[in-house]
Structures are given as C-alpha cells and as structure tokens.
Amino acid sequence: MAGDIQAGADALVVDSKDHVATALRDLNEGETAAIRRGEELIEIKLLDAVAFGHKIAIAEIPNGTEVRKYGEVIGRSTVVIEAGRHVHVHNIEGIRGRGDQAVKEAQA
C-alpha cells in the first residue's frame, strides 16, 4: 500500500499500476505539477484546479476504464478523462455497493 513520501512533490502516485496521483497541496488550473511516481518525478500540466487530497489523471483514461489507486480498482470512468484532469465523482463511479443499479437490473 502507501509508501514513504519524498519531500518536494506536488502530488503522489502510490503504486506503479495507478491511473491517478493524489495532490499533496491545493493545485491551480494551468500550473505544472511535479508528481512523484516511485523513483521518478513527472510533470503534468493541470487542466483543472485540484484540491489537497484530490486526484489527478496522470495519463488519458478511456471511458469505461477500471481506474486504479493503491494498485487496486477504485471505480470506473464514466467519460474520457484527459491527463491533468481532476478525477472525482463527476467522472468516475463506484462499482460496488450499487443498490441503485440492482434496482435497475431488477426492473429490466
């Protein structure tokens, strides 16, 4: 799971399989964020403002992708998400605990 964090990064990728980084401070739209990913520091221009603790797409995520953080699936994308976009409830949804979909399936 989560490992130690090096100083000097704006955001952190927890696992090499992850699609997202977590912002370590409030980041502004248009700024270039230094993102720690294992040993490397990658730079991504932000297309949205991303608040502390929120997620950033580190590469383009196609619609319907199982999105990973901690190396595990945290949900599914509901639109195409470009690199540098804020990733949150507006563009990914949970797969589990979806009683709303169980109702739809029962009605279908």
């Binding site: 799971m1 502390f52 595990e72 945290i74 949150h88 990914i92 589990r96 709303d100």
Partner: protein, 386 residues
Amino acid sequence: MKTFKAYQRANGDIGIRNHLLIIPTVICSNQVCNRIVQMVPDAVAIPHQHGCSQIGADKDRTFEVLAGTGKNPNVGAVIIISLGCEVVDPIALAEEIRKTGKPVEVFDIQTVGGSVKAIQYGIELAKRMKADLDRQERVDVPLSKLKVGVKCGGSDATSGLASNPALGVAADRLIDDGGTIVIGETTEIIGAEHVLAERCVTPEIKERLYYIVDRFEKEVDRMGADMRGGNPSPGNIAGGLSTIEEKSLGCISKCGTSPIRGVIEYAEDIPETGLYFMDSPGNDIECVSGMAAGGAHIVCFTTGRGTPTGAAVIPVIKITGNGKMFAHMEDNMDVDVSQILSGTMSIEASGDAIWKEIQEVAEGKLTKAEILGHQEFSINRIGPSL
C-alpha cells in the same frame, strides 16, 4: 516479558481504567442514570435508545452490548438500573457481568418508588462503590494482555496515505509483543476484501470474511440505493474520496500486516493474541461501542476531516495525517502524523510515535476525548421497533 501498570482483575483480565459504570437496561432509565453520574464524579453512564419493544437477534444484540460493556476490563464495578417491565432482563444482565468477578448492583425504578427515590438510592450506592474502586492501585501486568481496536472515521485522502499506514505500524508492534488488534467496519472493506482475505489463516475464515461483506452488500441492494453519499459520506467526498472502493483500500492498512486469525461477531469477546476482524458497521460510535463490548482496552481512531469521538469505558486516541485539521481542531486530536505527507517523517517513525502514545494512554495518560468528557455510546440495531 514487557510489562506496564494497569488494574489486575479477579478473572485474570487487566484494566487500563477503573470506571464505575451505570447501565440503564432501557431508555426509560436514562434520566435516573444521568442524574446519578452528575452527583458522583468520574462515574460513567451509558444512556441508549434500546431495551424494550425488541425481539430475537435484535434484543439479544442489545443485551450482548450492555453485558459486554459491563464486562469490559476497564470497568471496575457496575450498577444496573432497570425500569422494571422492559424486555432486557436486568437480573440476567447482572449475572452475566458478575461472571467477571466484579461487583454488580441492580435495582429497578418501579420497586424503589419513582425517579427521585431511585436517584437518591443510586447516588448512595455509587458513592460507596466508587470509594472501593479508588482504593485499588495499578500493578505490573504483561503488555501482551493489551487489546486495541483500530478504526477510522471522518476520513479524507490523508487517511489512506498517512494516518492509516502509520497506525498499521503501531498495530504490528503490539502484535509483535503478543498483544491483540481488532479491526471492524465491514462496510469499509467493500472493494478491498480480497486483500484482507489473502491474509486469513484458514479457508473457513476467508470464506466467512467474504460472506459478511456479501451479506452487507445485499442489504445495500435491498435498500435500492447507491452507497455513495452515505458511505463515502459527503465529508469523505469533499476530502477527495470518490468511491467506497477507494475509501476501503485506504482503510485496511490501519490494521498492519499480520495474518487474520478470526472473524468475530459484533460485540463478541475478542480472543487473545493476534489480529481479528469484527463484523460491524462503519458508523463510528456503533463500531467503537462494539469493540468496547468485545473487551478492547483502547481504540486508535484515524481521521482526516476531524471528529471529537470518544467512548464511555475506553480511551479513544485520535490520529491524523491532515496537518491543517490538526492545527484547527487540536483540542480533539492526540497524534499528528502529517509530516508523512510533507516527506519529513517516515511512516515507520510515525507508527512508533503512535505506539508510544498507546502505551502512555494504557498507563493512565488521558486522551483529548477523555479530557473533554466525550463518552459516546451506541448499539447497532438489526430489527424493527415493535
């Protein structure tokens, strides 16, 4: 053998607090209990909404939580106050708690003759019992006797990155010394159960873990709702957590890396030594109350959003990886591990700081929740009111 100072109980348990506990068997006795604790400093009452108009497993659960809280080794003596006509049997409750060897008194308001007489009688009883407790002293006991619950609530993204993995280090330290860790929150392993299942020591325990998660998820299906908004809560979402899976994957690191030796029921006695999973809701107070009823001495509670949560008979140590929140709500927070996120302290060193805090609280250091008088208590409900 590592030792620390605690209260030795007649049945071999050790207590890290020496509470006089006043238990209402039913909501109707709450006010009498509350009045008594107002007059007896340091006595603790656990007012609740239950105890009558309940049947079957739901009634049994209320009994088990009340009995377990009375049997908790941090409780030195108990007064049970009944109304006199409720479904929770006060005599059976007293007998169950007396199995521990601790003094238990029981009376009912209808027999004593109303609230005023019950309050007066209760105060006199409580003052005598409290004086006996105050004469007891801490002695050296094995550190391996310590049972600690791990819980998270009011989570944000710092919980999964900092406070939960740091608490996991402390959990591993306690288990290395022969102690016991219990983790709960069945709701909050949804999407991460496969990671914990791999750590179960037998196929039966693994199967049970999958079963309790599936049972819970079916309940959500039955409600016909998306969990999101209820869990993750609006605050979790504001803090950057998008789905229950993301929250769960951030949650599970708080119990460390030990094998899971058993899955136990809500409020069931926590066995000695190693890591156990308690089938409980994610709701903070219901989960912590279930762990206390199972015999936990302390709960370590990580939070990113900030919460004042305490518990009636056990200290709750509040830990955060959110430095801004720590500065903002310092009166509620015990340990700040936010230096993990600035890259100035390792998870290992932060875990050691939590482990040190656990040992100090076990020897009597008061938590912020205790200082502020937070004594939250609630019983998980599994049936309708009749």
